[in-house]
Symmetry: C2
Subunit: 201 residues, 2 copies
């Protein structure tokens, strides 16, 4: 017995990615076997190798795809010419919105870095750096409006704060993604002490 009824390359390929994403996020890369992924897809382990050269590539492509899509989405969503305060708000809303819609990808992209072989690790790190640069640029472009001593430090603090949302947010919780974003916009503004926030006082 071989070839299942109604099997197609265009179907199986993405399903492998989906299954791997789900299982890696739930149990971790090292704890998931190729056989488990295959079972989730409804196929034997050997069939995976028509689509993926090896397990490591499965993880790497998941992470690389995520980072590239994130950068593209950021380019599309953020307005380069925006005033500093609006740019910061835009970034916060984009970051939270985008990340809350892809918690599994975000999770493995932060958690499984150490499972990457050195060359792959470097690629992901570089992409992450490029994303962080977007926020750093906003902060340094607005250095007349904002009040931050250490731009790099503020960038890292903000990113950590924002990404932390994916760890506790639940669709069924009391807050909507928009509600969360509202609060985080406020906190982010305060952190950089945006003049626009202080004015109304």
């Amino acid at each position: 017995m071989a070839r299942k009824t109604g099997s197609h390359s265009e179907i199986t390929g993405p399903r492998i990615q989906d299954a791997a994403l789900k299982l890696f996020a739930r149990h971790g890369y090292a704890a998931v076997s190729m056989r488990q992924i295959a079972a989730e897809v409804g196929v034997q382990a050997g069939a995976l190798y028509n689509y993926v050269p090896h397990k490591q590539a499965l993880l790497f492509e998941l992470m690389r795809g995520h980072m590239v899509a994130l950068l593209d989405a950021a380019d599309a969503a953020l307005e380069p010419a925006a005033r500093p305060d609006a740019a910061l708000e835009g970034f916060v809303r984009f970051h939270i919105g985008y990340h809350l819609g892809r918690v599994d990808l975000v999770f493995i992209s932060y958690m499984e870095l150490r499972a990457l072989e050195p060359e792959n690790f470097s690629v992901i790190e570089a992409l992450r750096g490029r994303y962080e640069d977007r926020l750093e640029a906003i902060l340094s472009d607005g250095k007349d409006v904002f009040d931050v001593k250490d731009t790099k430090l503020a960038t890292l603090a903000l990113i950590a704060m924002l990404t932390g949302v994916t760890n506790w947010f639940r669709e069924s919780g009391r807050l909507s993604p928009e509600g969360v974003a509202d609060s985080y916009v406020e906190m982010a503004r305060r952190m950089v002490r945006s003049k626009e926030v202080l004015k109304p006082r």
Copy 2:
């Protein structure tokens, strides 16, 4: 051949913990074998079972020990009667100082939660909750001094921001732990818009 020269229970026990901590932090729980841990200690795999009932207990005890020590240290370091602003500053400095001295433990305590069996997971989650309550109490005790709409949200945002330091901090970097703490105290104060910060303006 058995029993190595100069071997002692009081020596080997802690060395196993140290080796497990180091390897779990570096490669992840699932990716590290009992034989690797044994090799790091300089012993055969079987010898580990004189000290640990099974691999899972090794991880669990590492995490539980960390959380218990963290709570104890917090109790010792934080002054319950402090004014809100001083209490917040005290918490930030304590959190950063304590965590920067134990990056490996912090790392696995956040990363390997999913590797814990359900009952063990609950224990760690409860301990973590008790720690977060310390900060939440500070924020709600100071609700006249601070300006926070959602105390729980601010707690989670602050903890994420503070713990994030362990991900990028390097002993050899340009900033000292104290310098980092200074900046984070400032950012934390701004986030809750402590009146004491606004006064000098």
